[in-house]
Amino acid sequence: MANGIVDKVKEQATSIWGKVHGSQVAESILRPGSPFKKGYSDTPRNRSYVIMNNVLYHLHPVKVKRHGVRLSYTLCLGGISFFLFILLTITGIFLMFYYAPTAEAAYVDVEALSTSVAFGSLVRNMHRWGAHLMVLSVFLHMSRVFYHGAYKPPREFNWVVGVILLLLTLLLSFTGYLLPWDQLALWAVTVGTNMAGFVPVFGDQVKFALLGSVEVTGDTILRWYVLHVLAFPFIIVIFMAVHFWRVRKDGGISGPL
């Protein structure tokens, strides 16, 4: 009796799933060759379609060099940098819901994340450690590229783009450092911008432009917030797009050694 019911439910579920999966809506979303499409079979042609008929074609070619796929070649460090950037974007959007970039609210808001926001503490931790990890992984990625001589022709320019990405990564991290508006933030940024103030000739002007004032003040928070959540992410995404594009156009991953 009970078995009969279970079988019936199973049968129903299968038939409904079959209808949904093969429906016009599903068919219109999944392009030919998608592994999620009804009746997908693992053939060389479909393997090509998975990439070619897909938005992924903007990132990946249909085929890649065998040695480039090995984890031991790139250590996926560029990929890890990119994934961390995505995780930082997601957690950062979450944090923006609870944060106001003013001298009065900033510290209180960050403190409240740990006490009165569901998962607030976890997400803040992820954002902060993720940022440190990203700086680290970008440095390691750069070292990997150097030791492989992967900056040699035709990849010279992609190395230059990479250095700009490194700079932007550091700027993103540094502008974020100020935002909690605690003693650590205030004085670390003070030390950092003092270093920038030693620019020959224009030192004071540079420092003023960075801080929106002669010293770190409440106004600096808004300025750095806008840079941190809007300006630098926008610029870094553009440079990343160029970077990934050039990896492909320069003939894919370099090597083998």
Binding site: V50, P61, K63, L87, P180, Q183, A188, V191
Partner: protein, 394 residues
């Protein structure tokens, strides 16, 4: 085929065998050309030889037939073909009716459109019917039997032309750049059939005969070119790159990336559950902490700053060395090799620089106490607030 690496060939043969459901050995044999040659392949043979033979007579590549010196096989072949054609030439009366170029093309191993064009051109030029021309091109028996005593290719042309003008020899010699000895008139050896035909194509070799046969079409002293033979090309594109060992991005690379993505996410979540991010007291302009430290990635610089004049270490060092210098690396390092053994100096420099930066950073993080003075972390503890909540200070 032979320039494809063995393992690539093997892999592709295996995949093909799997897909077709036939033994690997068979596929491999077909791929490497060891399989019994099909009829189509056999038809290709002479043409292929022709192509290969041409470079052997570089000086005469434009007209191998005209060679006076011992002729290569290929040249003889072409000449023989031409001759048979001339012999068989007759009025283009369309006796053959519709011609199946598709089938013929399959036999000849070339595109039907090309074959048709070349046959029609040949037929028009020689006055023979297209069906005859086609048959000859395919190496079949010509509809009208060739003369039993076909002249050798070397024999002189133009002996039995209907209009034995003095210019005939001059024209033929001119056209084919033939040495005078070869072009000299010889006893009439040409086929009787040829001279009987109305459009008068009676040359011993078609090469020489044709310009003479149509004096109204070719004014005196004008060089003409014509199609000698159609050669099957190997490929439209010349592939210069070595075949590389590639795999499908899906699934090989993407599975890997997905695994790394999951790994990174998991690591970050675990890290964030274990380690609490620091949050000190609210910002206070009047309470300067001692020491004040920059974020860790700037601490190496701060360390440098404590040794040098700030004008040098504050900006000149990071911007010149850090940015311009780094961007310039690919343009400064002209060594084309990427083998570690060839780039010992570059590797040494980079490693030295990175180790130096790491040392400075570690010094700044762990060994600097109040007033940014030197301390031993195991004596005075660590003065680095990023690590506040998870490093035991005492």
């Amino acid at each position: 085929m032979s320039d494809i690496p063995e393992h690539l060939l093997r892999r592709s043969a295996e995949a093909k065998a799997k897909a077709l459901g036939i033994p690997v050995e068979q596929v491999l044999a077909e791929m490497t050309g060891e399989a019994p040659v099909t009829a189509m392949d056999a038809g290709d043979q002479p043409k292929v030889e022709t192509v290969e033979a041409v470079p052997q007579t570089p000086a005469e590549t434009s007209m191998p037939v005209a060679q006076d010196a011992p002729q290569t096989d290929a040249a003889v072949e072409v000449a023989a073909e031409e001759q048979a054609e001339a012999t068989a030439a007759g009025p283009a009366d369309g006796a053959g009716g519709e011609i199946d170029y598709e089938a013929a093309a399959a036999k000849a191993g070339m595109p039907a459109s090309l074959l048709q064009r070349s046959v029609e051109a040949k037929a028009k030029a020689s006055g023979a019917s297209a069906a005859q021309v086609l048959a000859e091109m395919l190496g079949e028996e010509a509809p009208s039997a060739p003369p039993a005593t076909a002249p050798a290719p070397e024999s002189a042309p133009a002996a039995s032309t209907p209009e034995p003008e003095p210019t005939a020899d001059a024209v033929s010699a001119d056209v084919i750049d033939m040495p005078p000895a070869a072009a000299a008139p010889a006893p009439a050896t040409s086929a009787p059939a040829a001279s009987a035909q109305p459009p008068a194509t009676g040359g011993a070799t078609a090469v020489a005969a044709r310009p003479i046969a149509q004096p109204e079409a070719v004014p005196e002293g004008v060089r003409t070119q014509r199609l000698l033979t159609v050669v099957k090309a190997n490929a439209i594109q010349q592939v210069k790159a070595e075949p590389t060992d590639k795999v499908s991005t899906w699934p090989h690379l993407m599975i890997m990336e997905f695994a790394v993505l999951l790994g990174v996410t998991a690591l970050l979540i675990v890290l964030s559950v274990i380690l609490q991010a620091p949050l000190l007291e609210s910002a206070n302009f009047t309470a300067t902490p001692n020491p004040s430290k920059a974020p860790w990635y700037f601490l190496g610089l701060q360390e440098l700053l404590s040794y040098f004049d700030p004008q040098i270490a504050g900006v000149t060092v990071p911007t010149i060395i850090g940015l311009v210098g780094f961007m310039a690396i690919p343009y400064v390092d002209k060594n084309p090799s990427n083998k570690p053994s060839d780039r010992k100096f570059a590797i040494f420099m980079y490693t030295f620089f990175m180790m130096g930066s790491a040392t400075l950073t570690i010094l700044g993080v762990l060994f600097r106490g109040p007033g940014f003075n030197f301390t031993y972390p195991w004596v005075d503890g660590i003065f680095f607030d990023d690590l506040k909540d998870w490093v035991n200070f005492e």
